[in-house]
Symmetry: C2
Subunit: 139 residues, 2 copies
C-alpha cells in the first residue's frame, strides 16, 4: 500500500512528503471522489489548509487526479487512470453524484458518448455528470 503510493509519486517526479502520501492514500482508501473540504476534515490536524490546496493543484497538473464539475460550487477530485499524463487528462468516464449521501462516483464502465456540435464549435474536454440515487441509498 505505502509502496504503491510512493511509486505513483515517484513516477510523476514528485518528492515523497507526508502530506502527499496522506492525501493520495485518502483517495485510494475511499475509492470515490473527494472535495477539498472532505480532505481538510480528514487531515486538518496533520496539515495546513494551504498545503492541501497546493497538493491538489500539483496532483491535477501531474495527471494523478482530475476534477469533476458540479452544480454546487464545490469541485471534487478523483484518481486518474494510468492513461492520464501531465497536463493531458483522458477521463472519458461518467461521473455520478448521489443527491442523498453526496458521494461522487467514477463510473468507469460507462464512457461518455461522442456528441456532434454545431459548426465552429470544437470539443477538447467532455464531462457527463449524472445526479440521482446511488446503489447504497436506493429504495
Amino acid at each position: 500500500m505505502q509502496e504503491k503510493i510512493t511509486d505513483i509519486l515517484r513516477k510523476h517526479q514528485l518528492s515523497i512528503t507526508e502530506a502527499r502520501k496522506k492525501i493520495l492514500s485518502l483517495f485510494w482508501e475511499t475509492g470515490n471522489a473527494l472535495a477539498h473540504g472532505d480532505i481538510e476534515q480528514k487531515s486538518s490536524e496533520d496539515f495546513d489548509r494551504v498545503t492541501i490546496y497546493r497538493t491538489l493543484q500539483t496532483f491535477v497538473e501531474k495527471g494523478i487526479i482530475h476534477t469533476i464539475p458540479t452544480s454546487d460550487n464545490s469541485v471534487r477530485y478523483a484518481l486518474c487512470k494510468d492513461e492520464c499524463a501531465a497536463g493531458h487528462h483522458h477521463d472519458d468516464h461518467v461521473h455520478f453524484i448521489c443527491d442523498d449521501c453526496g458521494t461522487t462516483y467514477c463510473i468507469d464502465e460507462v464512457s461518455v458518448p461522442k456528441v456532434k456540435l454545431p459548426k465552429g464549435f470544437s470539443a477538447i474536454q467532455t464531462d457527463l455528470v449524472i445526479s440521482g440515487t446511488c446503489n447504497k441509498c436506493e429504495q
Copy 2:
C-alpha cells in the same frame, strides 16, 4: 421586451422589482450563461451583492434559470426553457464553455444522450458539459 420580462415574473408568482427585471433582462440580452460575477459587474451600481445572490437563488427555485456545472468553481446560470417548473428542471441540452473567451452556451439543438447506469443507480439529472473553442474564437 419589458413586457416579456414582467410576464415571466408574474407567471412564476414573483413580485415585479427593479432588481429582478434588470437581472432577468441581462439574461435575455446576452443570450448566454452568466456567472454571479458577470451580473455583479454589469449591475453593481444598481444593486447590492446580496440582492444578486438572493435573486439568482429565487430564479433557480422558481425554474426561471438553471445552473451549469463547471470545473473551475464558478457556477453559471442560464435561462430555462418553458418546460422547467418550480423545483423541477428539465434541461437536457448540452452546455458548451469556451476556453478562450469563457462564454458559456446552451446548445439547445443537441440533447444529452441517454446513458445506461450500473444496477442500483438511478438518474434524476444529467449534465453534459463540453469545453473547447467556440464558433467566435475558432481558427
